[in-house]
Amino acid sequence: MSRPVQATQPVHDAPPSGAIPYAIGQASTVRIPIPGTQGLCIELRPRGYVPPGGSTSTLFFQDPSGRRHLRLDYGYNVRTKTIDYHWNQKGTNTHFGIADHTTVGRPGQAAYKAAKYFRYAGRALVVVGVAVDVVSIVLASKPLRRASEVVAGWAGAWAGCKVVGAGGAALGTAATPGLGTAIGGVGGCIIGGIGGYWAASTVAGEVYDWAEDTFFTPLPEVKGP
């Protein structure tokens, strides 16, 4: 039995896009707001000086100064007299109901490790995303159009991360204050980032095409009455 002959058609290469790595990676760098907490945001880095070896905490909900914070820490816990994973907090108890030195279970350990590695992996993904986008501009037949899409995509990803991330953080807080906040916020940031990148770059491409096809025809001059 002979195989059916398939018609071949030329396929146009889609431009490479850094949308996915960029949108995922930026969740490690953007301050993701937590609604209703008077300025607390999710971050993976502390604010202020820390010893040269770095902080033993990996996940931070903190205000811009870092004075009010809830952070997931690993180390000696003076309350339990053991080395464990625990929360440290200052000024956030009313929002999350988590007291200082509250220990966390296995999900907390997983979140601590995920935040630890995502802090670096996320930045690497942002670099990869930017590099792919720059290559796509260089290879594009209309570099200016592609550049407009890329820049708009980055801005859209940032905005989408902030908006959807905040929503996710609010939902997560309602479900499980602390860990739920982090999962909802970061998850929302990634989803919002991808959606924001795609929407903004699509709109930017359309606007570019519209502007490119628009011609202004001078009207003939006529004498006034």
């Binding site: 000086y49 820390v50 010893p51 040269p52 902080s55 870092g66 180390g75 000696y76 003076v78 108890n93």
Partner: protein
């Protein structure tokens, strides 16, 4: 109800306190506190901060990194209302400072005013709770070192006491694990005795008990705070 207390351990040796390399010269002590009602918040309670700052400034001029300041113009130590100010080296390199969002020239404030010194426990840029603060101690008659010789970041590292010694400091205080304890080091036993006597007096005046404990009893007393 438990009584609030200032806890002192004269021979802290355990790595769990995260005080880095402890020296063979001078004397070390670990300070802790227990409140009648266990606090839900991290950091040094205001009344305890006031007590420790008062004891430190009664004996020493206390120099610590301070963000609530006007950056002094000029070089070296500049006299001000709150004390002597100086811009010092960050000590960690420009790229590292940029990456970690840190200043390359932190401002130090050397003071004998206890209400000013108590800021060292609550400065968000040099957070006590993240072990990002250290205070150097000089007696009133001792000269301050050249400002440019101070590399701030190195004082937060393991060898903080040897670096403080190199700067001519007669003592230093830095946060231990999570800022829940304070590590205290001074060069001479007479200074340690004077400082702890003052602390005991101030604790008594504030209605706090003053307890000198073994390392294990100290750990137990901190843990019991939550019970």
């Amino acid at each position: 109800m438990k009584q609030s207390a200032i806890l002192v351990c004269r021979e802290p040796r355990g790595a769990r306190w995260q005080l880095g390399d402890l020296p063979l010269i001078g004397e070390c002590a670990l300070l802790g506190w227990r409140l009648a009602v266990a606090p839900a918040e991290a950091g040094v309670p205001a009344e305890v901060a006031k007590m420790i700052a008062g004891a430190l400034t009664a004996t020493f001029r206390v120099a610590f990194a301070c963000s609530k300041s006007l950056r002094p113009r000029g070089t070296g130590w500049i006299e001000g209302e709150a004390g002597d100010w100086a811009c010092v080296s960050g000590g960690g390199g420009r790229f590292k400072a940029f990456w970690r969002r840190e200043s390359t020239t932190p401002v130090l404030l050397a003071t004998r005013r206890s209400e000013i010194a108590s800021r060292l426990f609550d400065d968000p840029v040099y957070p006590w709770w993240l072990q990002g603060q250290v205070a150097l101690l000089w007696t009133a008659d001792a000269p301050l070192p050249a400002a440019e010789s101070i590399a701030w970041a190195t004082l937060l590292d393991e060898g903080w006491i040897s670096r403080a010694t190199a700067l001519g400091a007669q003592g230093a205080v830095r946060p231990g694990v999570d800022g829940d304890v304070a590590g205290l080091w001074v060069t001479r036993s007479a200074l340690m005795a004077q400082l702890l006597n003052t602390l005991e007096e101030r604790a008594g005046a504030a209605g706090f008990a003053y307890q000198v404990l073994s390392e294990e009893a100290f750990a137990q007393a901190l843990a019991a705070d939550a019970a």
